[in-house]
């Protein structure tokens, strides 16, 4: 049960709480089912190392495999570019949050509002607050976190887990897009 407690102890949610993602395949299915998913990647992408590889490198693999649009926050765009990956867009975390609560926003490509917003690698409390903003003010948007920290304000969240499990989950997800299922 502990694994589905909020990572930061005080980040409890009330009546609407995240469904735990019990295995990476569930997340993959959610992404595949979404018409317009985006993936918001925060500054911990270069701060978290899982099994000797940086989070950002897992994300690049996943993004390439899944073709999900990546929005880099903070200065992460530089880190992506450095690694030869061009994210679909970059803006501050608050800017992407603020656009997502606007139902008239047509997405970063102007082709329609995202129907699934994924988050990974923001400071836990910031990610939590943005997810709360979306839960309250974009009730039709599904949200999902790809961290190893449970986020009760998301619609779907991976449970708290070790970096090792996290690495596995991300790797499995990537593989499922690369022709797996």
């Amino acid at each position: 049960m502990m694994s589905c407690e909020p990572w930061q102890c005080a980040e409890i949610a009330a009546t609407k709480k995240a469904n735990p993602i019990t295995k990476p395949e569930v997340a993959v299915a959610m992404i595949k089912r979404a018409a317009r998913p985006i993936l918001v990647v925060g500054s911990n992408a270069t701060e978290r190392s899982l099994e000797g590889k940086l989070l950002i490198d897992y994300i690049i693999d996943l993004a390439k495999a899944s073709n999900v649009q990546v929005v880099a926050t903070a200065h992460m765009v530089a880190e992506f570019l450095k690694r030869g990956y061009e994210p679909a867009d970059f803006m501050s975390a608050m800017d992407i949050g603020n656009r997502l609560v606007d139902p008239t926003w047509q997405g970063i490509d102007g082709k329609g509002h995202p129907d699934l917003a994924m988050f990974v690698g923001l400071p836990y409390y910031m990610e939590s607050l943005i997810l709360s903003g979306l839960k309250h003010f974009a009730p039709d948007l599904r949200t999902m976190t790809l961290d190893n920290l449970f986020h009760p304000h998301a619609s779907w969240s991976f449970p708290n887990a070790t970096p090792k499990v996290w690495a596995e989950n991300l790797t499995v997800m990537t593989s499922k897009f690369k022709g797996g299922n």
């Binding site: 990572w7 930061q8 765009v77 608050m94 923001l122 910031m126």
Partner: protein, 782 residues
């Protein structure tokens, strides 16, 4: 000075010189010849007077809410679950509630500064009389109270005038708080407007407090060369008795310093401080030492260096008294706001109090007379210092290694740590005798103590970290410039033009608290970056300390490396929290002194001017408090954007523009009445930035203003592009939104940018005389 009607009646009137019977005196209006500035439209604004202006800002910068809780628990109809639009038992929804929380925070902030000012002013009136005149900068400062003049229409000349100003503030605070009652305001934007009003009131309250203390205590008066003050635990002479003052209200400290001076003890003891009291102590006494910001309170006490702890108000950890008991240091509570349950000894003889504290008969006392605080503190410190021998409560390295072995790796410490610090891993290493990971935590730890509270085996985690970082901690010797107070009028006259035209690329105000995501060095790095780029960098409060806590390659602190004047490349510490209005005041004075706009009760016009012309940005990298919220609100209301570090997201509401919505960015050209799109300048009014890199890029961008000349704009753009490329690895994607004519483009980038503009279908536009106020249009369109 115009006051509301005043009626005085008395059957018998005793004064020093006469006895008057049956006086009746009705005064409709007091007019003071010496200030011939005409009264603007909004003196003493009520809570809804400036609502139209607020709505203009709030429409441009819409609130983005991130509730911290799904519930409202403010009354007994609740708790109510407001998730995703559900209304509570009083009809409130989550947007209303979120904005109500902002209003409450800002009201608490404004109340705190106003209450602080009230205490200082009442105390000084008691000591020096209502007629004591104000002096914040002698002949160098003619506009002595820009915020007060602007908001209230009053030009304060004496302490008595400040009393009147505060009465206005208190009325407003009361109304504002009242609006937070259940079943009052029903619209989130109106709550927001009221929060902005709280910010205005807060600025006035702060200004009053600093005016009073600068004038009476003879703090540096608008002095660019205010003394450099020793800062850091390493500067404390451990051989001397140490009195440590924590808080914001300098009055008790003045009692201590005066007593020391009067008894020729000022070189015999150390007076050190944390938080704004530290800063203000050093404005009063240049041998007072600054230890550090709020996040260092536990650090200092547990290190054992403190012999007597004097606590006043605001930002005083509520467990300071318990911590002081652990190191056998007596405590003096010196504020009505923070009585700590101690017995009130204000009217007891000094000898008795000293004796009770020295013999540890009582752990602490409440003394509300600052002179008595002074005598007691000094005498107690002298007596207990030899007994205490700077006893600390830090564990030895051996103990740490041993205790770390009992760690259960339950992660509760990390999960309770605001910084999400990997303490369990550091414990593992420590158990193996490797303290390096703990040492690394030292720099990022904000000293909140939550880890210890969470630990099921009661490991003193924060103390472990302090021990591991002790070398740095005890060796720290830096400099902070004593708060200079106001900016001189003459400085405004010479810098005003370059600022408004854009040639000084911006003013960065690094203010507020120490709730930093990764320690204080970010503040230093950011300030230095912009000082080197010849922005004007202003600091205050805990940020002023952090800015001075690191050194350059030559071993200079920031305050040694850069001049303290209001000029390109200057780094000015204005002072403590209540000195922040000198920053707002500088912007206001640009409009008034440089641009000759009327100031008095003329809020909208001045704010409109500042918003569109003065490229100032606030950075509250570690803001945590309700006061920081109200301070920010005061800047928002003037149209000055404020950035907060990641923890600032917990203010739960941003005010954000949408650069992708062109209709957001229209202003009037005051010359023609035409509507002109000026681009997202500035893009946001309140925004969280995640990393120092993002902060730097955002600061550069947020300094852009519609009024920039092409020369100014090209300078600003070159900084923005340069910082963007450096930190984001590429050209900004929104550069086309900031180029009005090709002359705006930095010459060296002409070709590169021309291509971008072409690709974006950019069209040349005009540089307007920008305003958001229709009434400022000089020539109406037929």
């Amino acid at each position: 000075m115009a006051k509301k009607g005043l009626f005085v009646k008395a059957k018998e009137l005793k004064t020093d010189v006469a006895l008057v019977k049956n006086l009746e005196l009705s005064i409709g209006k007091l007019v003071d010849d010496s200030w011939d500035e005409p009264m603007g439209p909004t003196p003493m604004p009520h809570i809804s007077t400036l609502r139209d202006w607020d709505m203009k800002l709030l429409n441009k910068y819409k609130p983005f809410y991130m509730p911290d809780c799904d519930l409202c628990c403010l009354c007994t109809y609740g708790k109510c679950d407001l998730t995703a639009g559900k209304r509570g038992a009083c009809g409130l929804n989550i947007a209303d509630q979120s904005s109500r929380i902002v209003l409450i925070a800002c009201s608490i902030g404004a109340a705190t500064h106003t209450g602080h000012a009230r205490h200082v002013v009442d105390h000084l009136i008691e000591e020096y009389g209502r007629n004591h005149s104000l002096n914040v900068g002698g002949l160098n400062v003619d506009v002595e109270a820009p915020v007060t003049r602007l908001v209230t229409g009053i030009k304060p000349e004496t302490l008595g005038d400040l009393d009147e100003v505060l009465t206005y503030c208190e009325t407003q605070v009361t109304h504002l708080l009242s609006a937070a009652h259940t079943g009052q305001e029903a619209c989130n934007l109106d709550f927001e407007s009221k929060a902005l009003h709280a910010g205005r009131v807060d600025q006035v309250g702060m200004e009053v407090a600093d005016l009073a203390q600068i004038s009476v205590f003879d703090f540096p008066k608008a002095d660019p060369e205010a003394p450099l003050i020793e800062m850091g635990l390493g500067t404390i002479d451990k051989a001397k008795p140490v009195i440590c003052c924590i808080g914001h209200n300098v009055v008790p400290s003045v009692g201590i310093i005066d007593y020391m001076k009067a008894n020729k003890l000022d070189s015999k003891l150390e007076v050190v401080g944390l938080c704004c009291t530290a800063i203000d102590n050093s404005r009063y006494f240049d041998r007072a030492k600054i230890v550090g910001p709020i996040s260092w309170e536990l650090r200092v006490i547990r290190s054992g260096l403190v012999d007597v702890l004097v606590l006043d108000e605001q930002c005083v950890r509520t467990d300071c008294s318990n911590e002081a008991e652990r190191i056998n240091a007596p405590v003096i509570a010196a504020s009505e706001k923070n009585c700590i349950g101690y017995k009130n000894r204000t009217n007891d003889p000094v000898d008795e109090i000293v004796n009770d504290l020295v013999t540890r008969k009582v752990p602490g006392v409440l003394i509300l007379d600052p002179e008595k605080v002074g005598e007691v503190a000094v005498r107690v410190a002298q007596k207990v210092a030899p007994m205490r021998k700077k006893m600390d409560v830090l564990p030895s390295v051996e103990e740490i290694t041993k205790l770390a072995k009992t760690c259960r790796h339950c992660n509760l410490c990390q999960r309770s740590c605001p910084q999400d610090l990997n303490i369990p891993a550091a414990m593992t290493a420590a158990a193996e005798g490797n303290l390096k990971p703990l040492t690394e935590l030292y720099e990022e730890c904000i000293g909140c103590g939550r880890c210890e509270e969470a630990c099921p085996v009661k490991l003193q985690i924060h103390s472990f970290i302090l021990k591991a970082g002790q070398k740095f901690m005890l060796e720290e010797t830096n400099f902070c410039r004593a708060g200079r107070g106001a900016v001189q009028d003459i400085e405004i006259r010479s810098a005003g033009g370059p600022i408004v035209l854009g040639e000084i690329p911006g003013i960065l105000a690094a203010v507020g608290c120490a709730n930093y995501p990764h320690g204080g060095k970010d503040v230093y790095d950011i300030c230095r970056e912009f000082a080197k780029r010849r922005f004007i960098v202003m600091t205050s409060g805990c940020s002023a300390m952090s800015a001075g806590s690191y050194r350059n390659e030559e071993g200079q602190t920031l305050y040694e490396e850069f001049p303290g004047s209001f000029e390109a490349g200057g780094v000015l510490n204005v002072g403590s929290c209540v000195s922040n209005p000198h920053i707002a005041g500088a912007a206001i004075k640009v409009a008034n002194i440089f641009a000759k706009r009327n100031l008095r009760g003329n809020y909208e016009e001045i704010a409109d001017y500042i918003h569109n012309r003065v490229g100032a940005v606030g950075l509250a990298w570690g803001a945590y408090s309700q006061k920081a919220a109200s301070i920010a609100s005061g800047f928002w209301s003037l149209g000055v954007p404020v950035l907060v570090g990641p923890h600032g997201s917990k203010y739960r509401r941003m005010l954000m523009g949408r650069s992708d919505k062109p209709e957001n960015w229209e202003v009037y050209d005051a010359r023609t009445g035409d509507v002109v799109n000026v681009g997202p300048a500035p893009e946001h009014l309140f925004q969280t930035v995640e990393t120092p890199q993002e902060a730097m890029v955002s600061i550069a961008k947020l300094c852009i203003r519609p009024n920039d000349t092409w020369k100014g704009r090209s300078i600003k753009l070159s900084h923005y592009i340069d910082l963007h490329k450096r930190n984001y690895g590429r050209m900004p994607k929104d550069i086309h939104l900031f180029v009005r004519t090709m002359a705006d483009v930095p010459t060296t980038m002409k070709d590169e940018i021309k291509d971008i503009l072409d690709a974006k279908g950019w069209k040349e536009t005009v540089i307007p005389d920008p305003t958001m106020l229709p009434r400022m249009i000089r020539k109406k369109k037929e």
